[in-house]
Amino acid sequence: MEAVELIDFCFAYPVLDGRQAGAGEGFNQAPAALEHVNLTVPVGSFTLLCGMTGSGKSTLLQCLKPELAPVGTRSGIVRVLGEVQALGSVAVTREAGSSPGFSPEGSLVFVGFVLQDAEAQIVTDTVWHELAFGLENLGVPSNEIHRRVAETASYFGIAGWFEQKTSELSGGQKQLLNLAAIMVMQPQLLLLDEPTAQLDPLATKEFLATLARVNQELGVTVLVAEHHLEDTLPLCDQVAFIGTGTIAFAGDAQAFIAWCAAKLPAFIPALPAATRLALAAEQTGQGEPNSGYALQESRATPCPITVREGRAWLTTRQASSLLPGCVKELEPLVHPASHDKAPLLVARQLWFGYGRTLPPVLRGIELKVQRGRVHAIVGANGSGKSTLLSVLAGVHRPQRGKVTLQESLRLATLPQDPKALFCHDTLLQDLMENSKRFDYHRLEIEALMESFGLAAYAHRHPYDLSAGEQQKAALAKLLLLKPDILLLDEPTKGLDAFAKQELHGFLDMQTERGSTIVLVSHDLDFVAECADTCSLLFNGELVGTAPTHGFFAGNLFYTTAIERITQGILPGCVTLKDVLAHE
């Protein structure tokens, strides 16, 4: 039986005033419309919906939930839980502005929807009330709510923070609460729109583990749109790839990898580390592109996806000596001019706390940043990374210690949410904002927008851009001030693999021009690729400051996926490049 069945489904946003009305992901030249979508999601399956940003993932998910369905014209057949509830099998004919025709009562209860923004989804002020909210809306009597809320809270491990205020929860707890608040209504189909995009890696894993449990133990059908494949690909039964408004591929993970390697090499960077490693090794090993996994549709050994599989794969390959054995430690990358120059920014014994009675967040930070370097500070959520950055930026004054800058240097900070930086109605106006004070011209802006690929959005509202484009726009706004030091707070938050690659490129460009970058992040793979020096912020102190390569190679747990795959097999490999250098 199918939970979702789309037959030749088409959807288009209405045309208003000659311009297409954008909603959800619709920020590209034309908002993502759906064309001839055919997709079946079996009951009880875990289906992953992936695709580039702006390909229509959100639109497709929203079309399956009548309450959230965007306004537009649609045709074709949509069956949602067709046999369970009589809400499916209604072919909606072309009627501009109409909502789909299936009965709302069914989908209200049986289809649950989790959105990307964990915080904005929370409606009430306390955890227990949030859990009860959906049931209250359905008019369930108080006693029944009491039982179901209690049951749900126990199942999701919420009992410990049941009485807390929702504003005091961590991001991961918030998203878990959102899932629980939907599960309390006992849906049969869960639709999730990039639920882990805003979470840190640890919270992401926890959330996905819970989601897998819901799928495995309760048999709830899961359809999740994600760009974070590292953790979702191992979980799913089916992968559907949506490319420019239509389903380009649907099948299991192995078939998807083979398809990707053959037809869509551009998407490979989004795949899990183990898979990328295998594909890359295959390619260089055979000397010709698109060979190996791409062609062996029915091969004996499946392509590795998880770190465990990656390690097994690597061991076998090494046994059959396809890869050279553990030859030697890679030469540590030594920067020629790393210590001969005076540091640009020095922090000495920084102590900072938000209140006299609260425990200090920073306890004796020592930091030196060299010119032209990328210094990354990694650490768990709540370890004080953002606080450190704001102290360095001069937003907060340290209670003890001092930040010394070389004279007349300009600092610019990219906040965690780039929305905090925008204050005008169009991107162009926004970028013009500081032109008088910092003396730059429109021509400069236009050149910068061109090089950032933002020229097409000059007259759009900054909020209508995608996460990646907002990040770029905010970065552009900062670069116009010609800062000597860029401070970046979680620059990869909410970005997909491609936006990350792009960001990496921009950072390289900036350092080549002589800018210095300090970034805080929990995205270890990103940091491993773009930073020169890394420090771990733990318990208010910076621990283990070292060149990136040495930093990660020395860590056992807190390190990149590639390092975890190659640990003990190919020592000294931190990124994919390192492994390929072995070949």
Partner: protein, 279 residues
């Protein structure tokens, strides 16, 4: 007291605050301060209370000094400030009214601690479902708005330095508004996806009415009635001006005092029983 039904808690505060405010009397007001302070210490710890003590003492001193200097109605002159007589009656009146004010403030701080918005809403949710839902929404929304406001202000500060002009304030407000509305759209979608507005809502109370609530309520009502009667008698026989009515120990103070220390008694009883049962 926290573990009692919100109705009991709410009624206690109504009784305690109303009585404290109506009974301006040297002994009664001082008793009210003592009871309120004792409970505040019990609830929030000595440290938090000492933090507020300076402010409270300030209130009392200001009230006393002002009344003593500018009120010359009393007849027992203690000394002169310039040509102004300072009377004992005015001094006592100032002290009592200062004590009264501090007592009321302390009751309210206890109320914040014990009752909280969620219990108030739970209590009145049935009577005013729409209003209470709206208040819940607002309470859920405010922390996020504050957080966003902080992040916008910090981003500005890091970008162009501190701005204190009116223009900067207006801009911050407008950015905050735009961003919050953007967030509000998602909240609205989330509400819609969870069947908000589909049928008549029910109201879930995270607390039950138990026997001990009944006992506490009966006790509370009886003590309130006695305290009101006693206070009326006490106050009718008392005058600040022109001469202070002489004060002496009186059984009539007892019901008033008992009512105000009721939460402490209930709390103490609870702790005693806990001790005994875990022996």
């Amino acid at each position: 007291m926290k573990t009692y039904h919100p109705l009991v808690i709410f009624l206690f505060f109504v009784a305690a605050i109303a009585l404290t405010m109506c009974a301006l009397h040297p002994v009664l007001s001082v008793m009210a301060v003592a009871a309120a302070a004792a409970w505040a210490i019990c609830l929030k710890g000595c440290h938090a209370f000492l933090g507020m003590l300076g402010f409270y003492l300030g209130v009392v001193v200001v009230m006393t000094v002002f009344n003593a200097l500018f009120n010359t109605v009393g007849l027992t002159v203690l000394f002169y400030v310039g040509s102004m007589p300072v009377t004992a009656e005015a001094l006592v009146f100032g002290l009592s009214s200062g004590a009264l004010l501090v007592a009321v403030l302390t009751w309210f701080s206890c109320y914040q601690e014990v009752m909280g918005a969620d219990k108030f809403l739970a209590l009145f949710g049935r009577v005013l479902p729409t209003t209470s839902m709206m208040i819940t929404l607002v309470f859920g929304f405010i922390p996020g708005v504050l957080e966003r406001g902080r992040s916008i202000a910090n981003a500005r500060k890091a970008l162009v330095g501190e701005e204190k002009s009116l223009k900067a304030g207006v801009r911050l407000a407008s950015v905050l508004m735009g961003w919050s509305m953007e967030t509000g759209l998602i909240t609205a979608a989330s509400m819609k996806a969870r069947a908000y507005g589909s049928t008549q809502r029910s109201t879930y109370l995270n607390m039950r009415w138990t026997l001990r609530d009944t006992v506490a309520l009966v006790l509370l009502l009886a003590l309130t009635a006695a305290a009101v009667a006693a206070a009326v008698v006490t106050l009718s026989g008392f005058r600040f001006y022109p001469y202070l009515t002489p004060l002496h120990a009186d059984w009539l103070y007892a019901p008033y005092a008992l009512l105000l220390v009721l939460p402490l008694l209930l709390e103490g009883g609870e702790r005693l029983r806990w001790r005994l049962s875990s022996l």
